[in-house]
């Protein structure tokens, strides 16, 4: 009985910390409509700062508590709101998610830069680990009591704030209608800033309280994910109700403790289960609890994508293959392997183009589907042994097929979820897979067969061989991955242009309208999810075999999130956006950090500067992600728009092509180094739109759109401009329609 009480109290304490973290999450979500994925990272940064003040610089504990919880926490939240969050109005769910994910990644990178991850840091419990009180035969640490008291205080405080103060009432009103709030004489920005400051403070508080309970060691990723566990608690309250959030947090905390306490010790997977329990609960809660109904009105967002025609996609695909082939001639074998790895990431990113860009559904764990394919391929698709072992074509097909089925199975219960909820469900699946399956290194015996899913923590995946076609050669691997990427890309463009693609687009723009037109949304979602999982699986398997061996870390949720973020940065609606996202997240980091580390070793006197630049670049990638809020259509979109001014400037384009050809010739013959080639090419690529703009800047007096056809004749060019200003894609279609009308 005593042990039961002890475990119950431990569960309550864990629940209390979850509750503090989750209520901060609910606070910011209800007042700004932004689900803050960076909540955990904020907690992490706050905890590290607390460690730095108390243990690093030896400040008294109360002083650092005041500084961190009282100053740094609110300041961090207010800054986040002022710099980033207020720019996120009227953007699609995916943009909001990606921006907060980018902030999370940026904070993690930043903390790893400031506080080197290999040093051990420990924070101790308040009043020490030995300060204990005995209550009715149960021994409770004072720190645990503090957690409980703080949670109760937060609960009461929030309740009073929301019901008994005008500021709290106005905060709740901000969700409904910020404009109406302004008509009432309030400033919604100030209110949102206040709520972000409070949310951030709660996150920091939770981080400081939870770290000693979990052993006291500070580790950036782990701490970030620990607070992410609070998502499940927030979901209990449907991101709205604080009391239900607290109930959820207690359920979560106690279940986790009981699993640890009462599961038989020979169940080796119980530890993994405990870690992934919050995510399992998150998944279940998402599916079981009723969520918001479909919004009837079409969502007006700032994102604009222009789908390519299959023909232009084919031309660009061929150009890509040719460019990669030429580029490969310049590179050594090691670089080619890295490049090929990036290309396989790009294939995984293509699954996002289909799912998110075309169908508007979200998947935050694309690499987890890659992991499924890798495991299948490893267990059922390898022939031979040692160096002679090869992946068979049938193995690859089987792996892709299994991944599609798993994708369907994950999507099946999640089909009625949309937007944020679906994103959270996929994230829960991803974390669950990382914690349960990819850490499952022990042997099981089931139906007389002994096996282990992830032996030794690494899988050796050999390259594919089909007949004489052997992917062990890095060049063949690179070209195969590129050709596959191009083929899938062209296929996706064709799919988007087909009736099926239009149905997907309709579902994305307005699910309600699509349903009213008789579309079976469930079937559509199911199909597109399976297809996307299959693509991710193919990419993941190729990635594993390109790298030779993979560990569970390769498929970690942070890598998935980085891939999603960079694909959105590139432009989630574009195939080239997938290429950008895949290459940068797959190998960009490695190259950046590697290059600057090489420079640092080569020039020891400049070592610290080069290392700093390398780290800065990594943090900068996350900054690009935050920039998505300003430019939600993606970088590729901007580049394409820039190059639009060059249309018709044949002489300029031909000149640029000639210069590029000369550069390539020089690089191939070794006159200039590869770096010079890369830098000069980048300069050329950037200079072209500028030249185009200068050319187009000749003073053309523009008639305002509404006077079109009145003040000037209604020409084709004008119609094109109107289409562009209104964001309509259908230049060709309109021409077709016109001819139909003419016939009629």
């Amino acid at each position: 009985m005593t042990s039961f009480l002890t475990f119950t109290i431990l569960g309550l304490v864990l629940g209390a910390v979850y509750a503090i973290a989750a209520s901060g999450l609910v606070l910011t979500y209800t007042t700004s409509g932004i689900f803050n994925f960076a909540h955990g990272a904020q907690a992490m940064l706050g905890t590290f700062l607390y460690w730095q003040l108390t243990y690093g610089w030896g400040w008294p504990m109360w002083l650092s508590l005041v500084v961190v919880v009282g100053l740094a926490g609110p300041a961090m939240g207010a800054l986040l709101h002022m710099l980033i969050m207020r720019g996120l109005r009227e953007t699609a769910d995916v943009t909001k998610i990606v921006v907060t994910v980018a902030i999370m990644l940026g904070m993690v990178y930043l903390s790893q830069w400031i506080w080197h991850p290999e040093e051990a840091r420990v924070t101790e419990m308040f009043f020490g680990a030995n300060a204990k009180i005995e209550l009715g035969g149960v021994v409770v640490r004072v720190h645990e009591l503090v957690c409980l008291v703080v949670a109760v205080a937060v609960a009461i405080g929030l309740r009073l704030l929301f019901t008994r103060t005008r500021a709290g009432v106005v905060m709740r009103g901000a969700v409904d209608d910020p404009d109406l709030l302004r008509l009432n004489g309030h400033d919604p920005d100030r209110i949102a800033m206040l709520s972000w400051a409070m949310g951030s403070t709660l996150a920091v508080l939770a981080g400081i309280l939870v770290t000693p309970i979990g052993g006291g060691a500070l580790e950036a990723n782990q701490l970030t994910l620990l607070v992410i566990d609070a998502f499940a608690a927030a979901m209990f309250g449907r991101l709205r109700s604080i009391p239900r959030t607290f109930t959820g947090a207690m359920v979560l905390g106690m279940t986790a403790t009981y699993v640890m306490a009462y599961f038989p010790t020979d169940w080796t997977w119980a530890g993994n289960l405990r870690v992934s329990l919050p995510m399992i609960i998150l998944f279940v809660v998402l599916i079981v609890l009723p969520q918001d109904r479909l919004r009837v009105a079409a969502v007006r967002t700032r994102e604009r994508y222009r789908p390519p025609t299959p023909r232009s996609a084919a031309v660009w695909g061929a150009a890509l293959v040719a460019a990669v082939f030429l580029l490969a001639l310049l590179l050594d074998d090691g670089s080619i392997t890295t490049f090929a790895l990036g290309m396989t990431f790009a294939i995984v990113a293509l699954s996002l183009t289909l799912l998110t860009g075309y169908a508007g559904e979200l998947n935050l764990a694309p690499l987890s589907f890659g992991a499924v394919a890798t495991i299948t391929g490893f267990h059922f698709g390898v022939t031979g042994s040692g160096l002679a072992s090869r992946l068979t074509l049938w193995g690859v097909l089987l792996a892709v097929l299994v991944t599609a089925v798993v994708g369907g199975l994950v999507a099946l219960p999640a089909l009625r979820l949309r937007g944020l909820y679906l994103a959270l469900a996929t994230m829960a699946f991803g974390v669950f897979l990382s914690n349960m399956v990819l850490r499952d290194t022990t042997e099981h015996t089931l139906f007389g067969v002994t096996f282990s899913i992830f032996p030794n923590g690494t899988l050796i995946v050999p390259p594919l061989q089909v007949g004489p076609f052997d992917l062990r050669d890095p060049r063949t691997l690179l070209m195969t991955a590129t050709v596959l990427f191009a083929l899938i890309g062209v296929g996706l463009a064709a799919l988007r242009a087909s009736g099926y693609g239009r149905r997907l687009a309709a579902m994305k723009d307005s699910p309600a309208a699509a349903a009213m037109l008789g579309q079976n949304l469930v079937k559509l979602k199911f199909g597109v999810f399976m297809l996307s999982a299959a693509i991710a699986g193919l990419g993941g398997l190729l990635m594993a075999s390109a790298g030779g061996s993979v560990s569970g870390d390769n498929f970690a949720i942070m890598s998935s999130l980085a891939l999603v973020m960079l694909t959105v940065v590139g432009g989630i609606g574009y195939i080239s956006g997938a290429l950008f996202g895949g290459l940068v997240s797959g190998v960009g980091f490695t190259i950046m950090v590697g290059t600057f580390n090489d420079l640092a070793t080569a020039h020891p006197s400049m070592e610290s500067i080069y290392k700093t630049i390398g780290q800065l670049l990594v943090v900068a990638t996350a900054l690009i992600g935050m920039g998505v809020g300003k430019n939600p259509s993606g970088t590729v979109h901007d580049i394409v728009e820039g190059y639009r001014t060059l249309r018709g400037a044949r002489a300029l384009l031909a000149g640029a092509a000639a210069v590029e050809a000369v550069l390539y010739g020089l690089a191939l013959t070794g006159v200039i180094g590869n770096w010079w080639f890369a830098i000069l090419t980048a300069c050329l690529v950037m200079a072209l739109p500028v030249a185009g703009r200068m050319r187009a800047a000749a003073p053309v007096r523009r008639t305002p759109p509404e006077l079109a056809g009145v003040a000037e004749p209604y020409s084709d060019e004008l119609r094109e401009r109107l289409d562009r200003e209104l964001g309509l894609p259908a230049r060709e279609r309109m021409a077709k329609e016109a001819s139909v009308h003419a016939v009629a």
Binding site: R166, V169, R172, G173, D176, N184, G185, P705
Partner: protein, 235 residues
């Protein structure tokens, strides 16, 4: 009466949603104590004009004057504190707050909650009975009463009403305008945009007809009424 300086004056006001210009030079005056009805078919620019007056949409040209002072680029919260009470199209209530909390939120302009509550519950007793009910669960008419209550207790200088009749039963619309008429009798100035001219013409002093982002005619309500059918039917 026209000798008096107008309380709210728009001269050549232009406004745009992104690149699409909607108002092409709107001229409009609201004199103290008068009721101006802004009439016209869908897409004429009535709601946009109301948004400009309330400070929700910035001007791209022309002038917005409040009591003779040029207030171009005023924010909605400042406009509200200066005494412009705007009840937007649809329901001007927060659906997830209770009736009382809605009134509480309305005190952002400096009014006291107790005054607001008293004014609202005296005029609309049903709101008093449902003070702890969520506004979103009230009927359409009751929500509009709640929205109008903001004008009752905060003592505004000018009331902007956008499509008060939208989605309401004719009987309720009549009751709403009776309330407005009482407020006017107490000296409030009102600018009201309305598609259904019948509802508002009886209480209006002046009517202005908006078409394609311009005020094409203004004058006595009776005169404007004659032009209405031809403009609504695209004559």
């Amino acid at each position: 009466m026209n000798e008096q300086a107008p309380l709210l004056e728009l001269t050549g006001v232009r406004a745009a949603y992104g690149p699409i210009q909607v108002l092409h030079g709107v001229d409009l005056r609201v004199h103290p104590g008068s009721v101006v009805a802004l009439l016209g078919p869908n897409g004429g620019g009535k709601s946009t004009t109301m948004k400009v007056c309330a400070g929700l949409l910035p001007l791209t040209g022309g002038e917005l004057r409040l009591a003779g002072r040029r207030v171009n680029g005023i924010t909605a919260q400042d406009a509200a504190r200066l005494g412009i009470c705007s009840i937007p199209e649809g329901r001007g209530v927060f659906p997830n707050l209770t009736v009382r909390e809605n009134l509480w939120a309305a005190t952002g302009t400096g009014a006291r909650l107790a005054d607001l509550e008293e004014a609202a519950y005296t005029r609309f007793p049903i709101l008093g009975e449902r003070r702890h009910q969520l506004a979103g669960s009230l009927s359409g008419g009751q929500q509009q009463m709640l929205a109008l209550s903001r004008a009752l207790g905060t003592d505004p200088v000018i009331l902007l009403l956008d499509e008060l009749s939208m989605g309401l039963a004719p009987m309720i619309v009549t009751r709403m305008y009776e309330t407005v008429a009482q407020l006017v009798a107490e000296g409030l100035s009102v600018l009201v945009a309305e598609q259904f001219a019948r509802a508002v013409l009886p209480i209006a002093d002046t009517a202005a007809l908006m078409l394609h982002g311009r005020v094409v005619a203004s004058g006595r309500p009776g005169d404007i009424e004659d032009q209405l059918s031809s403009s609504y039917l695209g004559g």
